[in-house]
Symmetry: C2
Subunit: 194 residues, 2 copies
C-alpha cells in the first residue's frame, strides 16, 4: 500500500527516552530529539504526533523497562527482601549516574506538571505504582510477621515512596552515599519486628 518506515519505532522511542531523560521535557528541543532518534522533522511529527505525545509514549516506555520490570522481578522475593532490595537498588542507581540524570518519572514530576492535568495524572500514576509495590509487600510482610505491624502498611508505603523520591532528587544535587543510605536506614528500621 505505501512506503514503509525506514526506522524502527521502538528504537526511536528509546532514543527519545534518552533525550527527555538527559534534558528534561521542557528543555528537550524537537530538533534535538529528532536528531537523536535518527528522524527528520517530518518523520518525527508524522510518527509521534507532537512533543507532548512523544513524551507520554516515552514515559510509558521508560516505566515499562524500568520500575515495572523491576517490580515484576522483585515480586518473586520475600516481602522484606523485595523492599530492602529495591531501596538498595535505588541508592546504587542514584550513585552510579555520572550525568546526574536521576529518574525520568520523578524529574518530570517537577518539570511537566505545571499546567497540564493529563500529564500530571500520568506522572501521579507512575508514582502510585511505586507506592503500590511497597504496599503489597508491606501487607504481605505484616501478614506473615516478617515486618513490624506497629505502623499501618499504608503509611509505611507512603514513607517508602517518599524516601525513594527524595533519594532521586537529592542524588541529582548531592550524590552522597552517606546521605542516601542514612536516609534509608531509619525508614528500614521500621520494618523490624519488635
Amino acid at each position: 500500500m505505501a512506503r514503509p518506515r525506514a526506522f524502527d519505532e521502538g528504537v526511536a522511542l528509546g532514543a527519545a527516552v534518552d533525550g527527555f531523560w538527559s534534558q528534561g521535557y521542557g528543555a528537550a528541543g524537537t530538533r534535538d530529539l529528532a536528531a537523536r532518534m535518527g528522524l527528520t522533522t517530518a518523520s518525527f511529527y508524522n510518527a509521534f504526533g507532537d512533543k507532548r505525545g512523544l513524551f507520554l509514549k516515552a514515559l510509558d516506555r521508560y516505566l515499562d523497562e524500568g520500575s515495572r520490570r523491576r517490580f515484576a522481578r522483585l515480586d518473586g522475593l520475600a516481602p522484606r527482601e523485595a523492599i530492602t532490595t529495591y531501596v538498595a537498588d535505588v541508592v546504587e542507581r542514584s550513585l552510579a549516574d555520572p550525568l546526574h540524570r536521576g529518574c525520568l518519572l520523578i524529574n518530570s514530576a517537577l518539570d511537566v506538571t505545571a499546567q497540564d492535568p493529563d500529564m500530571r495524572d500520568e506522572i501521579a500514576g507512575g508514582l502510585d505504582e511505586i507506592r503500590g509495590f511497597f504496599l503489597r509487600h508491606l501487607q504481605a510482610g505484616q501478614a506473615d510477621g516478617s515486618i513490624a505491624a506497629s505502623q499501618p502498611a499504608e503509611d509505611l508505603a507512603r514513607l517508602f515512596l517518599g524516601v525513594v523520591v527524595a533519594m532521586r532528587v537529592m542524588a541529582r544535587v548531592n550524590p552522597d552515599r552517606a546521605l542516601l543510605e542514612g536516609m534509608a536506614r531509619p525508614a528500614l528500621s521500621l520494618l523490624d519486628p519488635r
Copy 2:
C-alpha cells in the same frame, strides 16, 4: 552624580522570586520576568546582570524569607516541637497551594542543576540548611531525652530532609493530605522515646 533608579530593587527581586517560583528557572522568560518586576529589559539587565545572576539573588532572597526565617522562629521551641511543627507546616503549605508551585528551592533542584555546578552547590547548600535544622533539634532532643536515641541523629536528620523534599514533590503532582500526613507519621514515630 547620576540618574537615580525609578524602582525599588528589593521589590523587583520579590517579583522575580514569584516569577521563577511560578514558572521554574528554565521556563521563566526574561521578558516576562522584567514585566513582572516592572522593568524594561534595559533596566533588568543593567540592575541584575543576567537571568542566572538574577536567579541566584532570587533564590537567596527566597531562602531568607522562607526557610531561614522559619528556622529562626522554631529554634526557640523545644526540640521535638520544633521538628513536628515544621513538618506539619510543610504539609499545610503544600496543601494550601492552589497553583501547585511547591517550593522554589526543591523545584530548582531538578530544573537548574543539569550543567551548572555553581547553581547545584547553591541549591545543595539550601537543602543542607534544612538537614541542619533537623540535626540541631534531633541532637538536642536526644540529649534531653525527649527524642529516642535508637537511631543516630544524623540519619534521622537525613530522613526528615527526605520526607520534606518528597512532600514538596508529591504535593505538586498529587496534593493529597492522606499521602503527606501518612508519609510523615511513621517518620515522626521514630522520635518517640521507648
